[in-house]
């Protein structure tokens, strides 16, 4: 177990180095931050001075070395626009994004699992056909259309859900602003989390269905039937456990995709999360903020994948983390 974690840590280190190179390299390619900071009225001499001060005239390697050195101390620079440390800005917004992602994952797990199982067990029933049609539709309709549709129906026509913002939040542990514990917070979570869940639901329904169908045709399921086990035991003990193994792996990778989708969702619903912050940073060429965001998301990606592998090792008896360090 410890060997596994240690190896994973080393892997993670190299992954993060790679991400840092990429996220730093794009800094110089996004446009002139000085232009964005001071506008067009400032004289060329003053601009040159500012460039010098910001270290923008140094060579790429020197700049990157400075970036790494500071990053190692948790200092990713000061946002050009907000004039505050970027990491503070991101951490301030992170709870909103994580709560949104969490709710979406819960929704996906809650609905995709039973739908997928049902569609696998009764592939010819009308409900299964509806589920599959819905998932095809969900795969092909872009998420912002779904969001606009939801806003139109539930906010504008029916007035049951607010269409933007996060509602009331309360402080948990002093640092975490949470919307999960207030009525208005949960109310505001409804549409964004449903939208985000829509992005992943069809994939998971299809994944669970096809895995389950494959498992149901396996020899060990036939043997289980021949033992005279109850239908429920065969479906929910023998088949489901085997179905979920690949779903866990894919789920880990999709968790990263979910973060990508939060950018869209947050923009549409004016959700004060990291994704929204990132889009703003891009439009303002706020390069330190962009780099820091990419690093943080990369970190989340690496962490979730490690956790997923750990869980996989616990669920699948044929994988022994001690022996393989896998």
């Amino acid at each position: 177990m410890l060997t596994f974690l240690f190896r994973r840590l080393i892997q993670a280190f190299f992954v993060m180095i790679t991400i840092s190179v990429i996220s730093f390299a794009i800094q110089g390619k996004l446009g002139d931050p000085v232009q964005q900071m001071v506008g067009t009225t400032v004289s060329p001499a003053e601009r040159a001075h500012l460039r010098q001060e910001l270290g923008l005239n140094e060579s790429f390697t020197v700049q990157y070395w400075h970036f790494l050195k500071n990053a190692a101390h948790g200092n990713f620079g000061i946002s050009y626009y907000y004039k505050k440390p970027v990491l503070d800005l991101i951490f301030e917004r992170m709870p909103a994004t994580l709560e949104l992602a969490f709710c979406a994952i819960i929704l996906v797990a809650l609905f995709a699992t039973p739908f997928g199982i049902y569609a696998a067990i009764r592939p010819r029933s009308i409900l299964s056909r509806l589920i599959m049609a819905f998932s095809t539709l969900g795969l092909s309709v872009p998420i912002f259309i779904v969001a606009i549709f939801l806003v139109y129906v539930f906010s504008i026509q029916l007035h049951i859900a607010p269409s933007f913002g996060r509602g009331h939040t309360i402080d948990v542990f002093g640092i975490w602003k949470s919307g999960l514990f207030t009525k208005s917070g949960l109310h505001h979570l409804m549409l964004p989390s449903i939208t985000l869940a829509f992005a992943l639901m069809p994939i998971f329904i299809r994944l669970i269905r096809s895995e389950m169908m494959e498992v149901l045709h396996s020899e060990y399921i036939r043997f289980a039937w021949s033992k005279g086990l109850s239908t429920n035991r065969i479906y929910f003990v023998h088949a489901l456990k085997n179905t979920m193994l690949p779903v866990i792996t894919i789920g880990g990778i999709q968790a990263g995709t979910l973060i990508a989708y939060t950018i869209l969702t947050e923009t549409i619903f004016q959700w004060p999360g990291m994704g929204f912050l990132f889009i703003d940073a891009v439009s303002r060429v706020d390069t330190p903020l962009i780099s820091a965001y990419l690093m943080v998301v990369g970190g989340i990606f690496v962490t979730t994948n490690t956790v997923v592998d750990l869980i996989y090792g616990l669920v699948n008896p044929t994988v022994k983390l001690e022996n393989h360090g896998l």
Binding site: E219, S226, L229, H238, N316, P317
Partner: protein
């Protein structure tokens, strides 16, 4: 009363509006404690027959007509719930590949205990004791340790032992073993076959062995059914079948055994292939491959005829039998004349 009576069983697959017959008019009986074998090439319908006895056919396969009776219970008309009471408890099955038969994510113990507990109300502890005892009886060393292990921690032969143990848990009347040794290497094969024989003997269980290995069949079964293209073409006591095969197909199967060829010589084989379900020849389905086929074989299906020792479905045998009978008749007449004369 026969333990199992299969009568005119017809099984079909319904695919895209077309009906394909997989079993045609299959009939046989099995007595308590009797061991029979079903042999034939791949695709003959052996496995389908095994599965259809406890109605485990995968869709789109279904029992079209006929009956499968366990004593006086009609199995082919039962619903899933009723069948679940029969499966495992009265009729248990062993499948071909022990590597695939056990669920990889459940422990050996869990898979044994669930089989007992789904049929009898009994505590986990008692079920565990039964399971360990049965593991012991199939010669698995340190069964307590094996109980908590997963299938991947056991070898193929060991797993087949576990499967045999799981089949024994509820002392069923019939074991259907579908090629139980095909996936194992030769030394293990012999052990597993011996084990199967022993457990059937000790518990007076009936066995239906599905196999294409006539060597194994001759060691195990008292009676053998030969299947071709969904029909039983010959049924005989195993010894008779091997020493004096009647049907040209059975003869071909026996000739194809490597023992029948000299070293370095080409192995004998039956020319051609088993027909596909959607391409069954007219008349006797074997006629395209049969060296003795006549015009009659191409157009008509021969009846299943009992000749005193075995039952065969072949015009050749039918004709021979008729000749013999007519010879016997003429002898009778001669004898009668002689007898009459003597009286005079």
């Amino acid at each position: 009363m026969n333990l199992l009576t299969v009568n005119n069983l017809n099984v079909s697959f319904h695919i895209k509006g077309i009906e394909l017959a997989a079993l045609i008019d299959v009939s046989f009986t099995l007595n308590r404690g009797e061991r029979i074998a079903i042999v034939g090439e791949s695709g003959a319908g052996k496995s389908i027959l095994g599965l259809s006895i406890v109605n485990l056919l995968d869709k789109p396969g279904y029992i079209k007509s006929g009956s499968v009776k366990l004593e006086n219970k009609e199995l082919s008309k039962m619903n899933t719930r009723q069948l679940q009471e029969i499966r495992g408890k009265r009729i248990a099955m062993i499948f071909q590949d022990p590597m695939m038969t056990l669920n990889p994510v459940l422990t050996i113990g869990a898979q044994l205990v669930e089989a007992i507990r789904s049929h009898t109300r009994i505590s986990f502890k008692d079920a565990r004791n039964i399971a360990i005892e049965k593991l012991h009886s199939v010669q698995i060393a340190s069964p307590e340790r094996r109980f908590d292990q997963y299938p991947h921690e056991l070898s193929g032969g060991m797993r087949q032992r576990v499967i045999i143990a799981s089949v024994l848990l509820l002392n069923p009347d019939i074991i259907i073993a579908d090629e139980p040794t095909t996936a194992l290497d030769v030394t293990i094969q012999a052990e597993i076959i011996q084990l199967l024989l022993d457990v059937c003997h000790d518990n007076s269980m009936a066995l239906i062995l599905i196999s294409h290995d006539l060597g194994v069949v001759s060691r195990v079964a008292e009676r053998t059914l030969v299947m071709y293209a969904g029909r039983i073409v010959e049924e005989a006591p195993t010894l008779e079948l091997i020493n004096d095969p009647q049907h040209p197909y059975t003869q071909g199967l026996l000739n194809a055994l490597p023992q029948m060829s000299l070293p370095g010589q080409r192995l004998n084989q039956i020319q051609g292939n088993m027909p596909a379900l959607n391409d069954r020849p007219s008349g006797c389905a074997f006629h395209p491959r049969c060296p003795y086929a006549t015009q009659k074989c191409r157009s008509e299906q021969p009846n299943f005829i009992y000749n005193g020792i075995s039952s065969v479905s072949c015009f050749l045998v039918e004709d021979m039998l008729e000749e013999e009978n007519s010879e016997e008749d003429s002898l009778d007449i001669e004898y009668a004349t002689f007898h009459d004369e003597g009286q005079l």
